[in-house]
């Protein structure tokens, strides 16, 4: 069976700078795949390339067999790749409710808005309490939840999460991980960028270590945890 999302020799960057080089990867339906590695080595750039915010410089991408490289970001969303960006990027002057509704902007998602909203509120009950509050007045953890909830409103076939635990208090990180776990159990396909390699290694099916724009290592969580030299060299732990 061919994987749901396939990247074949993808390169991309900003201006004259190439940030990621010759990246190939496949994500199968229902898998949780993690991108790990030091800061500034292209993890976020890779996600932004997949979602079409950055144009590819070479290589090809397919989703369920359809070429998606060269599509605009809005077309890629319509194809079913949902990107929850780093730093949440909420709409600050909209309420929590309006932010969530924006996630279901496309006609396909809009028709199922009510059901999805119930699901999101069931998964993230805090958002129901806060639904009339402006996004700019939320705490860091709440903002993160809105970002994830907004992504879930879109449905989609792959959910990409960019550092969902970044800058949060340990207790909030636990909550976020509980959400990720339950998304995984419900069969979602997830591509996640994570700084904290040991924590994500416990739940990911496959991890890719991105170093200086290229994959330096790929393997399962158990393999990573059994190689302390890898953790020490690249991940400072």
């Amino acid at each position: 069976m061919t994987p749901l999302l396939v990247l074949n020799g993808i390169s991309a960057g900003y201006g004259h700078q190439v940030v990621i080089r010759d990246i190939s990867l496949g994500i199968e339906e229902g898998q949780l795949v993690a991108l790990i590695g030091p800061n500034g080595h292209g993890k976020t750039t890779l996600l932004r390339t997949i979602s079409g915010l950055i144009r590819t410089r070479g290589g090809s991408m397919t989703l369920a067999g359809r070429r998606i490289d060269g599509m605009r970001a809005d077309e890629i969303v319509a194809e079913g790749i949902i990107h929850v960006p780093q730093g949440d990027l909420l709409f600050p002057e909209m309420s929590v409710f309006e932010n969530l509704r924006m996630g279901a902007f496309l006609p396909g998602a809009a028709s199922r808005e009510k059901d999805r909203l119930e699901e999101v509120f069931a998964l993230l009950p805090k958002l129901k309490e806060r639904r009339h509050q402006l996004a700019s007045t939320l705490s860091g953890g709440e903002r993160r939840m809105v970002g994830i909830g907004r992504g879930l409103m879109a449905g989609g076939r792959i959910l990409m999460l960019d550092e969902p635990s970044l800058g949060l208090a340990p207790i909030v990180i636990d909550q976020i991980y509980a959400v990720i776990q339950s998304l995984r159990q419900s069969g979602r396909t997830i591509l996640i960028v994570e700084e904290n390699a040991t924590r994500i290694a416990e739940i990911a099916d496959v991890l890719h270590l991105l170093d200086n724009g290229e994959f330096a290592w790929s393997g399962s969580g158990r393999e990573l945890l059994s190689r302390p030299e890898l953790l020490a060299a690249y991940l400072g732990g």
Binding site: A73, D74, L89, F91, P92, E93, M94, F105, A109
Partner: protein
């Protein structure tokens, strides 16, 4: 008492005029970070199209207004496709588009000058008569301006808050990347905003010329005031711009009465400078750019 009513009436008319000419600018800046320096020329174009349709072609007023809004809307679209879109990816977009639209405005003004000549022309869309309250005469034309401004603001508010297009515009203005990740085609939003802003400019040009007269460079002064109002409100903030427009209109009317017409703009600018020293991000700005 009569004086107060008089100041209130002319101040509200001025404020309404300013609001109509400012909203388009604020919308465009809010969603594209684009200062549209051709806005003044679009005001003039709208005024002249209405004049041409009514006086030369003999069409009814409503057709003249509709034609002016349609043509200026198309001009806005053209500005997006020919000037803004090719520069969008550039890092210096804000500076480049600022200069490019100065060029567009100059071309447009000279085309108008070439076709209609430099002499002032009377705008045919004008109501006769006046409403009399005590000893105060309020021209029906002023009431029309007020009514049009209120209707326009209601339509804009409805559009922004209750329609799909409006949600897309607000999302794009608040976070461009996030808007794309929601599936919004931001290029289309930009085109819609510039077309809408062009149509509003036409409306504004017709109203302004109905109080004075048509001149090819008639848009310069209103555009300057519209920029001042945008800056006072906080760039890109549409509702703030409407509030600031009305406050400045009332202030201007009061200053004109107390000190004389020749001082009004100078005193207004001094007040604006004071406001910006007190709140550099504008009255309704919150540090960072807050939009729509």
């Amino acid at each position: 008492m009569d004086v107060a009513v008089q100041i209130l009436a002319s101040g509200l008319t001025l404020g309404a005029l300013y609001a109509v000419s400012t909203v388009g600018l604020a919308l465009v800046y809010g969603s594209l970070n684009m200062l549209n320096m051709s806005h003044g020329a679009l005001l003039a174009l709208g005024g002249y199209v209405c004049y041409y349709a009514m006086t030369v072609l003999g069409l009814p007023a409503i057709v003249g207004v509709a034609a002016a809004m349609a043509i200026c809307g198309l001009a806005g679209l053209a500005i997006y496709h020919l000037a803004a879109r090719p520069m969008l990816a550039s890092r210096n977009f804000e500076t480049q588009i600022f200069i490019a639209t100065i060029g567009v405005g100059a071309v447009l003004e000279n085309v108008i000058l070439r076709i209609f000549g430099p002499q002032p022309v009377a705008q045919p869309l004008r109501l006769q008569g006046a409403l009399v309250i005590g000893n105060v005469h309020i021209p029906n034309q002023n009431l029309l301006i007020l009514a049009v401004a209120v209707a326009m603001m209601a339509v804009i508010a409805f559009l922004l808050n209750r329609t799909r297009i409006g949600r897309a515009i607000r999302a794009t203005a608040q976070n461009r990347d996030a808007a794309q990740l929601m599936g919004i085609r931001i290029g289309r939003v930009y085109a819609q905003v510039l077309a809408l802003s062009g149509a509003l400019a036409a409306l504004s040009g017709i109203l302004i010329s109905s109080l004075s007269s048509l001149l090819p460079n008639m848009g310069g002064d209103p555009m300057l005031k519209a920029f001042v109002i945008c800056v006072v409100a906080g760039l890109g903030n549409v509702y703030g711009a409407v509030t600031a427009a009305i406050v400045l209109g009332l202030l201007e009317a009061a200053i004109q009465y107390v000190f004389g017409v020749q001082y009004s703009f100078a005193i207004l600018l001094v007040l604006v400078i004071a406001v910006l020293i007190w709140r550099p991000a504008g009255l309704f700005g919150r540090g960072q750019v807050v939009r729509l």
